[in-house]
Subunit: 312 residues, 2 copies
Amino acid sequence: MLNLPSKVRICEVGLRDGLQNEQQIISTEDKIALMEDLVEAGFPVIEVGSFMHPKRMPQMADTDEVFKAIAAKYPNVELRALIPNLRGVQRAVDCGCKKVKLNVSASRMHNLKNLNRTPEETVAGFADCVAAARENNIEISGSISMPFGSPWEGEIPQDQIDAIIDAYIAVGITEISLSDTSGMGTPKMVNTMCEHVLKKYPQVSWWLHFHNTRGTAIANIFAAMQAGMTQFDSSIGGLGGCPFVPNAAGNISTEDVLNMLNECGVETGIDIKKAIAASRKLLEILSKGGDSYILKAGTNDDLIANMAEKEA
Amino acid sequence: MLNLPSKVRICEVGLRDGLQNEQQIISTEDKIALMEDLVEAGFPVIEVGSFMHPKRMPQMADTDEVFKAIAAKYPNVELRALIPNLRGVQRAVDCGCKKVKLNVSASRMHNLKNLNRTPEETVAGFADCVAAARENNIEISGSISMPFGSPWEGEIPQDQIDAIIDAYIAVGITEISLSDTSGMGTPKMVNTMCEHVLKKYPQVSWWLHFHNTRGTAIANIFAAMQAGMTQFDSSIGGLGGCPFVPNAAGNISTEDVLNMLNECGVETGIDIKKAIAASRKLLEILSKGGDSYILKAGTNDDLIANMAEKEA
């Protein structure tokens, strides 16, 4: 018998991780309309954008404006933004964003080469962000990218991952995302790491974020749930990319995740039909096809209904 | 801790299930060359073609010729063909094919409507095929399509599936494939059914065959392995189709399955690089892209090697 949770929380990241990988910059109005659709579909958590420097990431330059338009409107939805540093906390305060997320790479090699510091030293440097967030009553979380493998060193020893987690906990961050941005995760290693961190760090609220670069993301989610994980990111239309592999698939598509969860009897509180509609709307704005099986094939219920109609 | 097998057997079905869904008919010479590549890559089982009526399935009309060219050449590889009826056994005898596979749909509704008999009555009618195969020293197996859901009735009760299995065993067939041709399977139901049949029918040698129509096939394989299953079909380049959903994805791609298994430490005896080369060759012949993540992104090892080269 499989051990699956009865319900999970899904965070929709298409407006951040999806759009930041697109050449096209969509309008603030479109973003706000899509936010409305996502809230209406029932997403409990939405990653709205990021407070990177607008020159570095022009697709996210209007994140402040989007928050100003929606933050007060949806008090029951957790609306989060990615921040690079203290400046990000200040922008969050100014626009009414109540939840921010920091990021560090799990690659020791990459960090040492580029920043001359280890990942855990980088995280220790986030103490000022935590202090500023606390002062302003803003929730703060952290993510670790590439814990399941890095293009620089391949598999990363668990004790190096643990050192980064320890560093996050040391600065007072106990909500942590394991983000497989390189798409190197596979279900056995995911299950093993999830079991390990859940046991070693019971005080942490975990998120899992899988890119579908090598087609394993849905199995990774399944394996993570079996270890006891209950919070997952996904992206409508499968938007996003793998920063290290041009033209590779993006984040696992929200529709595909919702379909799998629904069919496995795992509750999300999200209306898959409305999620699919939001996905189609965004892909239409971008004039692209996306990477989503459910958008092409429909759900099992759709198939049964179509067959009944055809035979009637 | 996950319960995974230490090794599994993969049957390559691209030359049958893949090519029968293509408009283009590839040459017998190309098929024979591809067979050579697949054997060289280490596939222990290959589905070579089918003995359907050539008018009904012109893509498979040269299956006899392909067998004549290869059957004696690869005595250590299990080379199988799909047959519709007794005529198929006779064609197998004539061309040196030593293993055949019958098929029945799990949809009671579909069978009754079209054939005016239940699936188990259809299977009972295979007794003549079994007798003829035995006489000629040909191994015979059976498949059940759509056990994980049918477009006609949706979920099929387990006792109806069991009745079909009983019927196969009654005619003397104890190698059975559960074939998710409608792509409606999801990992929890797959795991549940696999556990059930493994326990109830210990005398049966099981195969699992997943189409990736709704993006769940890799998770289905993972869930089936956890139940104890060790034999899986897959198709190079993800060729194939969903007969009920135009333009939907096909069989799960062999490269993606091999990558997942390799990374999970499950042995197959197959060289993934050679499988990828065969896949590229077939897609080039067909002038199409296929549905395969690994063909686009490469393996984790490829990514690490590329990064090392870039930074050198």
